[in-house]
């Protein structure tokens, strides 16, 4: 952090001001002039919160993607299919047992198993051959998409939110002050907050596991120099399988999350593959904090865009990607 400020004092100042403005926009009661210029505070606050919660969904998908890429250098273009498959499993389980939480667990395990099979049967055979892996995963994603269309049809499914999570919750953020002087607080959907908290917990747990445990150390060493690590006697194939399973399982969980606050249907696989590609390009390939930052930026851009410039909302996302590629092609938080 201090090194960044020393190296780029101007950028640091701009960032600091941006953060301060954002905090003021979120915490302060807006003066009437501002409300007239850019609309009500409630709309703005909601868009910001929605952006961050949508970002947490993107993070869940993209973190698995970036983890697999970081360690194994393979771009798994079937990652979107894993997301969709997780969603379908979650739906089937939650309908069958009536338990939302069980849906998460089984989706994680089920999709992680698919990941293990993929790693052992497909990727191990073509280690280090980027182009072949890319082509094979594209092919697989098409096959998976058709198989799922066959099994579940073209219908859209929505996973029922458990009753204790339905409805809004009042947050201690003032959106407006009534003429009587009474403050109006922000009401926000409970389920989205819970999902946001869960994503933060998963993110921190992943960061801790990578940076504070022995297995994490092995994974990091593998990211830096795979051959050297193998030479020291670490069972690298086992590490690969474990990381692939974890990354796939995260995509499965994300599918259940996506099915809960949006819905799942054919086509969602490519949508989320694209989203996670953009997220990791912006954040930096292979970096977990990068995925988190990229996910929040893309989520905010989509939601603020859909409110303030609805017609061009989709363009904003790709504009950010183009800017990052032009100015910092390795991504915002990449190490090299």
């Amino acid at each position: 952090m201090t090194r960044f400020i020393e190296r780029h004092p101007a950028w640091a100042l701009i960032l600091l001001i941006a953060v301060a403005v954002m905090l003021w926009l979120i915490l302060a009661v807006w003066p009437p002039g501002l409300e007239e210029a850019i609309g009500r505070k409630r709309v703005f606050l909601n868009a910001v919160f929605n952006g961050i919660t949508l970002g947490s969904l993107y993070f869940l998908v993209a973190s698995g993607f970036t983890l697999i890429f970081g360690l194994m250098r393979n771009v798994n273009l079937a990652h979107g299919s894993l997301y969709l498959f997780g969603g379908y499993i979650g739906y089937a389980i939650s309908v069958w047992t009536g338990s939302w939480v069980l849906g998460f667990i089984i989706a994680f395990v089920g999709v992680a198993l698919v990941g293990v099979v993929l790693q052992i049967v497909v990727f191990r055979r073509m280690e280090g051959e980027d182009l072949r892996q890319t082509m094979v995963t594209i092919g697989l994603s098409i096959v998976f998409a058709d198989l799922m269309l066959w099994a579940f049809g073209g219908d859209f499914y929505q996973i029922q939110t458990p009753s204790w999570l339905v409805g809004p919750i009042e947050l201690p953020l003032v959106t407006a002050v009534k003429s009587s002087g009474e403050a109006v607080y922000l009401r926000y959907p409970m389920v989205r907050l819970v999902i946001f908290v869960a994503a933060v917990v998963i993110g921190i747990a992943m960061w801790l596991a990578l940076n504070r445990t022995r297995v994490g150390m092995m994974v990091r060493a593998g990211v830096d120099d795979r051959d050297m690590l193998a030479a020291t006697g670490v069972p690298i194939q086992l590490v690969f399988v474990a990381v692939f399973a974890l990354g796939a399982g995260l995509a499965g969980i994300a599918g259940v999350v996506g099915g809960t606050f949006q819905s799942i249907s054919p086509g969602e696989d490519t949508r989320f593959l694209l989203a996670s590609l953009v997220v990791v390009i912006v954040g930096g390939m292979g970096s977990i904090p990068g995925a988190a930052l990229g996910a929040v930026i893309i989520g905010l851009a989509e939601q603020l865009g859909s409110v303030y410039i609805p017609t061009y909302a989709i363009v904003v996302t790709f504009l950010i990607m183009v800017l990052v590629l032009a100015l910092r092609p390795q991504g915002l938080l990449a190490r090299r």
Partner: protein
């Protein structure tokens, strides 16, 4: 021995002639949105189509109609791709297509490039399709989105007392047409439409759209359909929304009212208008509902046919009846069939239908209100029946032409 031999010969000759007849087929291509946001709508459309076949049969004189179904996803290019495939690969002679508004405009334009074929619109309802530069070989037996909103504006303003409303709708031609019909009547009666929000078709995350809904209006009009409507209602419930709602023709429809979960309960008491009402007591309607219910097991259909099922039923019926009138004669650029199609007056389950000079339906419209039947199922209950609704909505054609083609901002909120 001889007798049985003769019998065998007779039987085999019968079978042979049967085979010969079966070869002379009239091929009809059908498209429906069996993918994407409007999947549920397409599936129920096909159920309506099947119900019509069950009722009327496939025989036209000594020929048989063969229907070939292709899937689209509500985008115009998917509709053109499906129609092309049906014509070029399956060699169909007649098309029953498409389902959705933008598809309709594209297929109508495509129809002009194939003047030797006949196109019967299946269910699409954009005004432009038959109002602006219509194709001579394109026939539409359902009303357009604006006709389907007739009666709603006045009912909202006069009976419900809504003076100010805002709209949220999917950003494409059919919903433009629906909002067009609503705004003309509501503003004509003296109401105000303060805000029109448009969201891309296939939007998943409505949270910000819901947050941006204005508070200072009496009701919010929802022009959404399929997965978008279900996503919206689900997130509306999670955000704790409480406003009065008004619905478009595919919002208050069995495709949404029968969705899983309880988010749809936000629609109870919602007023809407459409080309049909679930609980209409007309014997023709009841007979159709019964035929639909008998044709499919309860878990493979809605409790009552959706607007799409009715439209597909009507267009299939019109086509089969016209083919029979023309005796299956498709010679001379299908002239006989076209004459029959233009003249036919349908005794449809949702009221009598005839075509105007643009080959656009004039029919009956219904103002409805959503009720709970006590067992958790939602239905649209008839409030008002309005017969003989034409495409210019009763306006003088010259005045109507000045309003302009429906778009995000047309018409203005004023009295025309």
């Amino acid at each position: 021995m001889f007798k049985s031999c003769a019998g065998l010969v007779a039987l085999s000759s019968l079978l042979l002639s049967g085979a010969a007849i079966a070869q002379e087929k009239i091929k009809v291509g059908v498209t429906a949105t069996l993918e994407g946001t409007y999947t549920v709508l397409g599936e129920d459309g096909i159920r309506g189509h099947q119900t019509a076949i069950n009722t009327l049969g496939k025989k036209v004189g000594d020929k048989e109609i063969e229907f070939i179904v292709a899937s689209t996803d509500a985008t115009p290019d998917s509709a053109i791709r499906a129609v092309r495939k049906l014509i070029e690969q399956d060699k169909v002679q007649i098309l029953l297509s498409p389902l959705s508004g933008d598809e309709g405009i594209a297929v109508k334009n495509f129809a002009k490039t194939r003047p030797e074929l006949t196109f019967v619109n299946a269910a699409s309802g954009a005004q432009e399709t038959t109002y602006v530069d219509p194709a001579p070989n394109f026939y539409r037996y359902n009303m357009d989105g604006a006709q389907w909103q007739v009666g709603l504006g006045k009912y909202a303003y006069e009976t419900k007392g809504y003076k100010k409303i805002a709209t949220v709708g999917d950003d494409y031609s059919f919903i433009y047409t629906q909002v067009f019909g609503l705004v003309l009547e509501f503003c004509g009666a003296g109401g105000q439409v303060t805000n029109r929000q448009w969201v891309p078709l296939g939007t998943k995350d409505f949270a910000s759209v819901i947050a941006a809904l204005p508070d200072d209006v009496d009701a919010i009009y929802l022009g959404l359909g399929g997965a978008d409507a279900v996503n919206f209602l689900n997130q509306y419930q999670q955000a704790g929304g409480k406003a009065h709602l008004m619905g478009g023709s595919i919002m208050v429809d069995q495709t949404i009212l029968s969705a899983k979960g309880n988010a749809k309960n936000a629609l109870i008491g919602t007023i809407a208008a459409s080309g049909q009402a679930d609980t209409w007591e007309d014997p023709g309607w009841q007979k159709f509902v019964k035929a639909y219910q008998d044709a499919f097991p309860p878990n493979k259909r809605f409790p009552s046919p959706s607007l799409l099922a009715t439209n597909y039923y009507n267009s299939t019926m019109a086509l089969i009846l016209a083919l029979r009138q023309a005796n299956g004669d498709l010679s001379n650029n299908q002239a006989k069939l076209r004459e029959a199609l233009a003249k036919i007056e349908l005794d449809a389950p949702n009221g009598k239908i005839k075509l105007d000079s643009n080959r656009q339906a004039i029919g009956t419209n219904f103002v409805t209100e959503v009720v709970d039947d006590g067992k958790g199922a939602l239905f649209s209950k008839v409030v008002k029946v309005i017969p003989n609704v034409n495409q210019t909505l009763g306006y003088d054609p010259a005045v109507f032409a000045k309003i302009g083609v429906p778009s995000r901002t047309v018409p203005e909120c004023k009295k025309y």
